[in-house]
Amino acid sequence: MIEISNLQVKYDNFIAVDDVHFKVEEGEFFTLLGPSGCGKTTTLRTIAGFIQPSEGSIAIRGKNILKVPVEKRDLGMIFQSYALFPTMSVYENIAYGLKIDKQSKSQIDERVQELATLVELNTAQLQKNVSDLSGGQQQRVAIARALAKKPKVVLFDEPLSNLDAKLRKQLRAELKRIQRETGMTAIYVTHDQDEALEISDHIAIFNNGKIDQIGTPREIYDQSSTEFVCKFIGDANYLEATLIDHINRYLGTKRFTVGKRHYIREEKIKLWSSNTEKMIPMEVQIIDEFFYGTFTTYVCKYQDTTMRIIVKEDGNMKVEPGMKRTVYIDPEDILEYEVS
C-alpha cells in the first residue's frame, strides 16, 4: 500500500530522518513511536508532502508520490492542534475538501451526515462554530474532515496529545472502531507508548532519526531488539552484574555475558512460583510499596540491583517494606543487549 524507502531529511548539516524504511499494508494501523525530536513527525510530514526529503522515495500503491504536490496526494491528515478553520462552522470544516472537489450540494450533505454519524456528532453540533465544541468534539470534527474525501491513507500527528487522560483513552477506542469500520490505512505518530501498544497493528520505534525496530506491539514489547526500545517501551529493571553472576551460578552455565546489559520487565519478576525448576529464586529486601488500586508496585533490592515488581492486587498481599522475601525470575524473560 505505502512504502517508504531509504528516506532521509536533512536541515543544513543536521539529519532529522536517516535511512528510514517501512511498509504499511492496506487497512493497517501503523504507528511511528518515539521520544520528542526523534524524527517521527518529520517522517509523517514528509509523507504528507510538507517536507521534501533529501533522499529516498515514498510510494503509494507502487506510484512514487515524491513530486506530487500536497493537495494531489490524496491523503488525509489529523493534526495535534486539530487545525480546524476558525472562520467556518463544523459543517463547513467537514465539507471543505468536498467543496474543493466540486461535489454537488446533495452529495456533500449526504457525506457530511454520514461522517457525523461515524464520529458521533449530532445535527445541532454541525451548525456550531468549531470554538463552541469541547476538545474531544473538535477532535471528532478533525477526524471527519480528514476522512471526508475517502483518502487512501490517513496521517495522524499526535492527535490525542491535547486531551486529558480519560478522554484520550476513550478516543483511542473510537479511533480503532472508526478505522475498523472504514477500513482506512492509518499512519499514526505518538510518543505515548500505551497508546501505540493499544491501537497499532505494527509499530516503528524511532530513535535519533532512525528506526530501531518494527514489529507488532507484542513483538516490540516482548522481544525489544535494542536497549533503547526495551527502555522506551514499558518499564524494565536494569540488572547489575552481581545479579547476572548469581543467575549464571544458579544455572551452572555462562548463559548471560557479564559485561553486556540486561533487563527484565517489572511484571516478569514473580513473588510466587509453582515451577521451581525453571524459575530462579533470589532473596531480596523489600524497600518500598506503591498501591495503585488494581496492582501494587514493590521496590526491592538484591545487592546493588534495585528492581520494581508489579503484582496484581488481590487484597491478600502479605508483603511489607522491611521484609526479606524470595522472588523468582524466568531466565527466558531476561533481555540481553550489547553495550552501545
Binding site: S5, N6, R45, A48, G49, F50, P53, S54, E55, G56, S57, N64, L66, K67, V68, P69, V70, E71, K72, R73, L75, G76, M77, F79, Q80, S81, A83, L84, F85, P86, T87, S89, Y96, G97, I100, D101, N129, S131, D132, R145, A148, K149
Partner: protein, 597 residues
C-alpha cells in the same frame, strides 16, 4: 543511496507548476521595480546630490551648510528641542500613566479620557488648537493680556511654545505602550516588595520602573526622534525658532539649495539610524517578563501621604485641563459665528451651523478634506494589500537570503526621515524618467499617496508578519492536504485570519496620514491641497476670521474621523471580518505575535 524518484515525463503537475508560477514571477519583477524606483534610486540620488558635483566627489554641500548660520542654528535648535523634549515628554507621559493606571486617583476614568485625547487631537489639528487658545488672538492670551497689560499678544512663540505644544502632543505613545506595561505588571511582585518593607516610592524605584525599563528607554528614543524631526509645531508656533525639518522644506523649494536640504536630511537620517540601532539593542537586553506562574492584575496603589496625594491630584487635573482646553474650545467655537470667534465668547447668541454648512456644501472648502481622505485611504489600502503579499513571500521563503534582503528593503523608510524620501523623489523624478515610464512627479496627483504608502510600508509589513507568525501553520497544511491549491488556501484560510489585523492596519495608516502636513508640504498638487496644507494656510491668515472658522470645523471633522477609526481599531470594529462572534476566541492568538526569530 540516492532517491529513486521516477516521475513520468508527462506528469501533469510539472507543466502546471511552471505556468501557475507566471503570476508569481511577474509579481517578483514588480517588487524589483518598486524597490529600485521608490526605495533605492531616490535615496541614492540624495547622497549623489550631496557628494557628487560636476562628475566628481565633492564636499561643497558641507561647506555651504557650515557657512549658512541659519542652517547650523536649525540643527542646534533641533538637537536642543530633542534633548529637552525627552525630559518633559517622559516626565509628563510617565506621570499621566501612573495617575490613571497605577495610583488611586479620584476621577481617573475622566483623566484617562483627557490624556488620551491626543489619539484624535494630534498633528496639525493639535497645533492649530493650541494656536487658537494660546496664539495672538487666543482665549488664554486675551485673559492674560487683560491680567498683565504689558504682555505682548504674540507671547506664545519660539522654543518655549514649541516645547509646550510638543510635550503635550507627544505623550500618545506613553498612553499606548507605557500604559499597557503598567497594566501588565505582576501585582504579586509589588505586594512582595511591600511585604518586605518597601515604601510606595521604593516600590516604584525598585520594582515598577526596572520592569518598565525597556519600554521607557524606547519611549525616550521615540521622543528624541520626534523632537529632532519636528515640523508642524515649529512652523505653527516656532516663530524664529527654526528646526531642521522646516529648513529642509525651505531649501528644497530653492533648486540651488537642494544639496543643503539633502545634507540636512542625511543628518536626520543618520540620527534615525543610530536611534534605531540603540532601540533594537535595548529590545534584546535582558528578560523583563514576569516569571510568575500565576500573574495577578495590578491593583491601584494608595498614596499614603496626604500632602503628596493632594499634590498628585492637583497636578493631574491641571495637566488634564491643559490637554482638554484646546480640544474643547475648538469643538465649541466651531459652532460660534464669526462674531463669537473674534470676541472669543461662547454664547448661545452666537451659535451657528453656518461654519459646517460652509465646509460641507462648498467644493473649495470640503475639497482638501476629500483629497486627504482619498490620498490617505488609497495609500492605506494599497500598503496593506502590497505588504500582505510581500509578507506571504517572505514567510514562505524564511530561510532564503533573497527573501530576507527583500524584507530589509521595505524597512528603508523606517531608517530615513520622510522628508528625505520626499526629497529623493523630487530629485530623482523632477524630470520624466524611464523608471516611471517617461513620467515625472512634478504636477502629478499620485506622488503624494504613493509617498504616504511608502512611509506606511515598514510598520505594515512588521505587523502583518507578526500576524503571520501567530497564524497556526497547521491550518494551511490542513487546507493543502484537503486538496486546496496554495492560492485558494491563501484566499480562503490565510486571508480571513489576517483580515482583522489588515483592517486595523488600514485604519491606523489612514489615521496617521489623514492630516499629514510634512509630506504634503513637499509633494502636494497645487490644485488639490490636502487638509494639512489647508489648515496651515488658514492658520497663517491671522486676521481672517473665516479661515479660522474653517480650521475649527476641519479640526472637529478630523477628530470625528480619527475617533471612528480608533473605534474600528480598538473597539467593536476590530471584529469585522469574523463571521461569528465566537471566533474572537480564536482570533485572540492572532493578536499576540509570538515574536520573530
Amino acid at each position: 543511496m540516492k532517491a529513486t524518484v521516477s516521475i513520468p515525463k508527462k506528469e501533469w503537475n510539472k507543466e502546471t507548476t511552471f505556468f501557475s508560477k507566471i503570476p508569481f514571477y511577474l509579481f517578483c519583477l514588480f517588487i524589483l521595480w518598486f524597490v529600485v524606483t521608490f526605495l533605492l534610486f531616490p535615496n541614492i540620488n540624495v547622497l549623489r546630490d550631496i557628494f557628487w558635483v560636476d562628475g566628481q566627489l565633492s564636499l561643497s554641500a558641507f561647506q555651504r551648510l557650515s557657512s549658512s548660520s541659519r542652517a547650523i542654528q536649525s540643527i542646534i535648535n533641533s538637537f536642543l528641542l530633542a534633548f529637552v523634549l525627552v525630559i518633559t515628554v517622559n516626565l509628563v507621559g510617565t506621570f499621566i500613566v501612573l495617575v490613571t493606571e497605577y495610583f488611586e486617583v479620584k476621577g481617573s476614568n475622566f483623566l484617562r479620557i483627557g490624556f488620551m485625547s491626543t489619539f484624535v487631537f494630534s498633528g496639525m489639528v493639535l497645533n492649530n488648537g493650541y494656536l487658537y487658545v494660546y496664539g495672538q488672538n487666543g482665549i488664554i492670551t486675551k485673559v492674560l493680556t487683560s491680567l498683565f497689560p504689558n504682555l505682548t499678544p504674540g507671547w506664545f512663540t519660539g522654543f518655549p511654545a514649541v516645547l509646550f505644544v510638543m510635550t503635550f502632543a507627544c505623550t500618545t505613545n506613553h498612553m499606548l505602550f507605557l500604559r499597557n506595561g503598567v497594566k501588565g505588571l505582576d501585582n504579586n511582585t509589588i505586594e512582595a516588595a511591600k511585604n518586605l518593607g518597601s515604601s510606595q516610592w521604593q516600590v516604584l524605584k525598585d520594582i515598577v520602573f526596572p520592569t518598565l525599563f525597556p519600554i521607557m528607554i524606547t519611549l525616550v528614543i521615540m521622543s528624541f526622534q520626534m523632537g529632532l524631526g519636528a515640523m508642524a509645531a515649529p512652523i505653527m508656533v516656532g516663530g524664529k525658532f527654526e528646526t531642521i525639518s522646516p529648513m529642509i522644506l525651505n531649501f528644497t523649494q530653492r533648486p540651488q539649495s537642494r544639496d543643503i536640504a539633502a545634507l540636512l536630511s542625511l543628518i536626520l537620517g543618520a540620527a534615525q539610524v543610530v536611534l534605531l540601532v540603540v532601540m533594537t539593542r535595548n529590545e534584546k537586553k535582558g528578560n523583563y517578563m514576569s516569571i510568575s506562574k500565576t500573574k495577578t492584575r495590578v491593583t491601584k496603589q494608595k498614596i499614603g501621604n496626604p500632602i503628596a496625594n493632594t499634590l498628585v491630584h492637583a497636578i493631574a487635573y491641571l495637566l488634564c485641563f491643559i490637554y482638554l482646553l484646546p480640544l474643547v474650545l475648538v469643538i465649541l467655537f466651531s459652532f460660534m459665528n464669526l462674531q463669537g470667534i473674534s470676541r472669543s465668547v461662547l454664547s448661545l447668541e452666537y451659535f451657528t451651523l453656518e461654519n459646517y454648512q460652509q465646509i460641507l456644501f462648498n467644493r473649495n472648502s470640503y475639497g482638501p478634506l476629500m483629497t486627504s481622505i482619498g490620498y490617505a485611504g488609497l495609500a492605506a489600502v494599497f500598503a496593506v494589500l502590497f505588504m500582505i503579499l510581500i509578507a506571504r513571500i517572505v514567510m514562505k521563503n524564511k530561510k532564503k537570503k533573497i527573501a530576507e534582503i527583500t524584507e530589509y528593503f521595505f524597512y528603508i523608510p523606517w531608517l530615513l526621515p520622510s522628508l528625505m524620501i520626499a526629497l529623493g523623489l523630487i530629485l530623482s523624478y523632477g524630470a520624466p524618467s524611464p523608471l516611471l515610464f517617461g513620467n515625472s512627479v512634478i504636477g502629478s496627483l499620485w506622488i503624494l499617496p504613493l509617498t504616504y504608502m511608502i512611509m506606511m510600508l515598514p510598520a505594515t509589513l512588521r505587523y502583518i508578519k507578526g500576524a503571520y507568525y501567530s497564524f497556526d501553520e497547521n491550518l494551511e497544511d490542513a487546507s493543502r492536504i484537503l486538496g486546496s491549491s496554495s492560492i485558494r488556501t491563501f484566499l480562503k484560510i490565510i486571508l480571513p485570519a489576517l483580515l482583522p489585523t489588515a483592517l486595523a492596519l488600514v485604519a491606523l495608516n489612514f489615521n496617521n496620514f489623514l492630516a499629514d502636513y510634512d509630506l504634503s508640504a513637499f509633494l502636494y498638487h497645487p490644485a488639490y491641497p490636502t487638509i494639512g496644507i489647508a489648515i496651515r494656510s488658514n492658520a497663517d491668515s491671522a486676521n481672517n476670521l473665516n479661515a479660522a472658522a474653517i480650521n475649527l470645523v476641519y479640526s472637529v471633522i478630523l477628530m470625528i474621523v480619527g475617533g471612528v477609526m480608533f473605534y474600528l481599531i480598538y473597539g467593536r470594529g476590530s471584529k469585522v471580518g469574523e463571521r461569528r462572534k465566537k471566533v474572537v476566541k480564536e482570533k485572540g492568538i492572532l493578536e499576540k505575535p509570538k515574536g520573530e526569530n
